[in-house]
């Protein structure tokens, strides 16, 4: 780490807001040296509760986050918020508008709100989100709230980053068939029926209840609406083979349903209590340790993938660049599989020489 970054890290740990802001920018921009910086942050992390808030666009995520932050502050806890909005697939630009809703805590620097563009990532978070959480954690925030991009059915990356995930389901989100579908409803540790003063809220609550009971009673373990199945969700969507312990299957967490009216602050206390209850469950059942372990496993994998990817890019350049190779395929001279095998050969040879009998990561 160079001297500037050392100073920046020192300032961040000393509680300087600008240093935190700057570190997050470095992470987002992948500025030179950001990896050393993040790696130095790790020693200071682990104390914050990380809560994820997700749900469809206009469900009231930002407004609820605002009220959540306000209530945490009333209880004397410091809060960091990361709010992610989509970026344009055409220009890469973005309008980040979540901050507008977060007016209750304005003027209070102990609520640190950071807007992020998804920068083309599709899972509801940006690549930098997890590292930005680390920065806020090291800074000393008690609670870190991540607000995802307005999510549809399948943006579930939040389970990789947050300890507790709340899914907002506004009234009138479709019939009970929607609740049978896989995806976002499976990752909830807490359901929030926001805008609960609207028509149809009771019905939405009822449909969610039925869904939870269905996953609970019918011997459908591993599917349906169980929050503690989050890791299995990740398993299903990824290729790692970390073991899933089913020891807590019996006393497992059943996601509660909270009704809120975020604009008026109704139900926010109950919501916070349920978040705290889930936290307690995670720690007491040992699920948290497992969760954290799997999270780190995934982080290591992601980093390795990035590094290997970088090596392969260099290898591609050396072989004449991807465009020329692709053109060879177009002219029928070769095919993508042969090219991939050829390019990998030197790397495989190196690995073989080192007598490392691990399989390629990618």
């Amino acid at each position: 780490m160079n001297a500037d970054d050392e100073a920046l890290l020192e300032d961040l740990l000393a509680g300087e807001h600008r240093a935190l802001a700057r570190v997050i920018s470095k992470i987002e921009n992948r500025s030179p040296g950001y990896r050393d910086l993040v790696s130095a942050l790790y020693a200071h992390t682990g104390d914050a509760d990380v809560v994820g808030i997700t749900g469809s666009p206009g469900a009231g995520k930002s407004t609820l986050v605002d009220k959540l932050a306000e209530t945490y502050r009333d209880r004397g806890e410091t809060v960091g918020v990361i709010a992610i909005d989509p970026s344009s697939p055409f220009t890469g630009g973005a309008v980040l508008g979540d901050r507008i809703r977060m007016a209750s805590t304005v003027g209070d620097m102990d609520v640190f709100v950071r807007s992020m563009s998804a920068r083309g990532t599709l899972g509801g978070l940006s690549t930098a989100t997890a590292d930005a959480v680390k920065a806020m954690d090291a800074f000393g925030k008690d609670k870190i709230i991540i607000e995802t991009v307005g999510a549809g059915q399948n943006e579930i990356d939040i389970v990789r980053t947050a300890d507790t995930v709340a899914v907002l389901v506004p009234p009138g989100s479709g019939d009970d068939i929607q609740t049978l579908k896989a995806g976002i409803l499976e990752i909830a540790d807490v359901f929030v029926v926001n805008k609960a003063d609207r028509d149809g809220a009771d019905r939405t609550v009822q449909e969610l209840q039925e869904m939870i009971h269905l996953g609970d009673g019918g011997g459908l373990s591993g599917s349906g609406g169980g929050g503690h199945h989050s890791q299995e969700v990740i398993d299903a969507h990824d290729d790692w083979d970390g073991e899933t312990e089913d020891a807590d299957e019996e006393s497992g967490w059943k996601p509660p349903i909270v009704e809120t009216v975020a604009t008026k602050g109704t139900g926010v206390e109950t919501f916070i209590d349920e978040l705290a209850a889930h936290r307690t469950y995670l720690v007491d059942s040992g699920t948290h340790a497992q969760q954290v372990r799997q999270r780190y496993a995934e982080e290591i994998r992601t980093l390795l993938r990035e590094d290997v990817h970088g090596m392969l890019e260099d290898e591609l350049e050396a072989a004449g660049g991807i465009d020329d190779l692709a053109d060879d395929v177009r002219r029928g001279e070769t095919d993508p599989y042969s090219i991939a095998t050829e390019l990998l050969e030197p790397i495989e040879a190196c690995v073989g020489e080192l007598e490392v009998d691990r399989e390629r990561d990618d």
Partner: protein, 138 residues
């Protein structure tokens, strides 16, 4: 390391400050900046100078565009500049003011540290070009 490709994007805060409810211009600018590939944070209406400073610092923006059509720029802009200074953010934030600013007030704003004042009739392209050329290298 080769995988550390920089992915820098110009971050802008478009801010409405004080008792001024005219935000069409701010919306147009926010949209135009988005289409130019910038990341735009919009403050919303009726913000106090301290709120603008808080947002600019936390969001670590490269550019702060203040839209004022109320005539209160003499008092509000200096407050924002002082706030930025307090957090050590004044020197590397490009501050622009847009709106109805009388010619005789421009110099004073520039002395405060504002980099440019864009009055009525300024083309969007001109503003974007200015930002691209002057956004601070960090």
């Amino acid at each position: 390391m080769s995988s550390e490709q920089e992915q820098e994007s110009i971050r802008c805060l478009v801010a409405k400050v004080g008792l001024d409810g005219h935000d069409r211009g701010a919306h147009v600018i926010a949209r135009a900046f988005r289409d130019a590939g910038f990341e735009v944070i919009y403050s919303g209406l009726h913000k106090a100078p301290e709120e603008i400073v808080q947002a600019a610092v936390q969001e670590d923006v490269d550019v702060l565009g203040i839209s004022i059509l109320s005539g209160a720029h003499d008092t509000l802009v200096p407050k924002i500049m002082d706030g930025l200074e307090e957090y050590g953010a004044k020197d590397d934030t490009l501050v622009l003011v847009g709106g109805v600013i009388p010619d005789e007030d421009r110099d004073e704003l520039m002395d405060e540290g504002v980099s440019a004042v864009f009055g009525p009739g300024t083309s969007i392209e001109e503003t974007i070009e200015f930002v691209r050329e002057n956004a601070p290298e960090r």
